[in-house]
Assembly symmetry: C2
Homo-oligomer: 328 residues x 2
């Protein structure tokens, strides 16, 4: 099969890569479209020491599924955390996303979706509703990660949440999705960023852009109930703590650790909550796309055939690029 | 009046210090006993740039209170956060402990309790029940800080809390109080420390001591629902994150910031909550002392007259010392 491979620190397109083999609990999915994520860009810099086919944001059609043949022909998104399904974390704690034995599609010990075929456990499959296009469905994985924030914070059950001021720090792909999602739960969402053209994409959803190159950030200090930090820097995290009201919450959404020096005294003095947040609920993201309460399509900036995967990765890595899709 | 003063970077005992003057909303309290806290030791190293009479853990008797004369003669503990009572944080948010205009008794712009007299707003006074001794009442401030943890985490309302494993890291004064308090809410509380004699003090309360010089800490990795970090080091915080189960909570209880390099990736990957925690509810601490559900008395190690306050501070600063009291 065709595939974009990262092997021995080299990124390459392979026309004749061996297709993955489905185990007894697996489905074989023919990939239709895939998206390039910042995590992919980190993996080719050495993150996780990954070797294999890249890609974890995708939509496809089930081609085979030995134990659950009713899935065959179904258009699906696939949860990227492939849990063992039998350990205490999976069964007792009901936290398969945190299964210590999990593989992660295209990230940890599991081949990815920049290829004609991918395999994954059948219990990771989510059917895509008819009114959700393939291009929308490609966004389900990062959109689920955005919906993880209101799920963890139980915002839907909190009668005060509507009145919260939320600040999202970072106007990249994930920041733009998170701003849209948070606006479904809270009436005031400020998006802090440096690119007015990007931020304009979410203004129609009621998100207020704040161009931090022109507006003094200090005027927002101690005013936010929730700050979502997506800029991924130590300076961003320090600023996030300063933006929070006492007893507010800073959500940390960042794949890459910095190991930078951090002064956590505001956390103690203001009794802040720092909440780590990773992967989220696919079903909630698919429901939102079906209900058209969020729209990721304006984020698509480039489309490449799979054969141009190496070039697609380079374009995605260039500063300020939004979503790059691979079409199979 | 007599006082232990920290002025121009010098700690001294003063026999003829001017007594503080009570404002219209203040009570004048004659101090009976006071305790030396680690924060006092930090203040004389330069923390907060403090100048004035030290001391914020104390019990006394109201000698004068212009606007609320019914307090006169009452034995009291006094909340150390003197809020303005009129700003949005005080009135709308109902968070006087976080009032941006607050002074803090013996810590921030407010004279302390290592003296014959202290003044404080009358609404900061808490009557001491008859069955709570002065020596017990001296512990109300740090005990309230310990009770802040279950209050913030709403443990009393959480039906799962009883079954939680809690690890308290640090067998100093505050760690010993926190271990006792957490044991009221959770059936398994492990106290990680280096001093078996200290840890033995809380064993009668059902706390399990773990001597970390003899037990490999790694065997507890990813097993705790809550880790309370009281050791105050960056290494301690890193270890706390490793001890937590996915989606667990690390409580940060530490006055001094380090600015050390920190790898926060476990926070994101395991979706941990890092919760800053500071001052707590005086009423809850007094109720617990009255109900005899906690007992801080075994923590008292030395008693000094106020005139020996400088020596008392030196003894408190020596490694491994538990509570040092000043008697007036």
């Amino acid at each position: 099969m065709r595939a974009v491979l990262f092997q021995d620190k080299q990124l390459s397109y392979q026309a004749e890569q061996e297709a993955p083999k489905a185990g007894p609990k697996d489905a074989l999915v023919k990939v239709s479209k895939a998206g390039v994520c910042n995590t992919d860009l980190e993996l080719v810099k050495g993150y996780m020491g990954f070797n294999g086919v890249l890609g974890h944001e995708f939509v496809g059609v089930v081609e085979a599924c030995e134990s659950q043949p009713q899935w065959v022909g179904q258009r699906v998104c696939v949860d990227i955390n492939a849990a063992c399904g039998v350990c205490d974390t999976c069964v007792v704690e009901k936290q398969p996303h945190h299964c210590p034995h999990r593989t992660v599609l295209g990230i940890v010990n599991h081949g990815g979706a920049f290829a004609d075929y991918i395999v994954a456990p059948y219990y990771n499959l989510y059917p895509v509703p008819a009114n959700v296009s393939d291009e929308e469905a490609v966004f389900v994985e990062p959109l689920a990660a955005a919906f993880e924030i209101p799920e963890q914070m139980k915002l839907a059950e909190n009668p005060k949440a509507k009145g919260y001021r939320v600040i999202v720090q970072g106007d990249g792909k994930l920041g733009l999705l998170i701003a849209q999602v948070m606006r479904l739960y809270c009436d005031e969402v400020l998006l802090f960023g440096k690119h007015s053209s990007k931020m304009a994409l979410v203004e129609p959803f009621g998100v207020t852009p704040v161009l931090i190159t022109k507006t003094p950030v200090e005027s927002f200090f101690k005013t936010a109930d929730i700050v979502v930090e997506v800029s991924g820097t130590a300076a961003g995290l320090s600023q996030a703590m300063n933006l929070c009201k006492p007893r507010g919450t800073v959500v940390l959404k960042s794949t890459v650790a910095e190991g930078a020096a951090l002064d956590l005294s505001p956390l103690v003095i203001d009794e802040l909550t720092l909440l780590g947040s990773r992967c989220g609920p696919f079903d909630v993201a698919l429901q939102a796309l079906a209900a058209k309460t969020v729209n990721p399509l304006p984020l698509i900036q480039h489309r490449f055939p799979l054969e141009a995967g190496v070039e697609a990765m380079a374009v995605a890595a260039s500063r300020g690029t939004l979503k790059v899709l691979l079409e199979l």
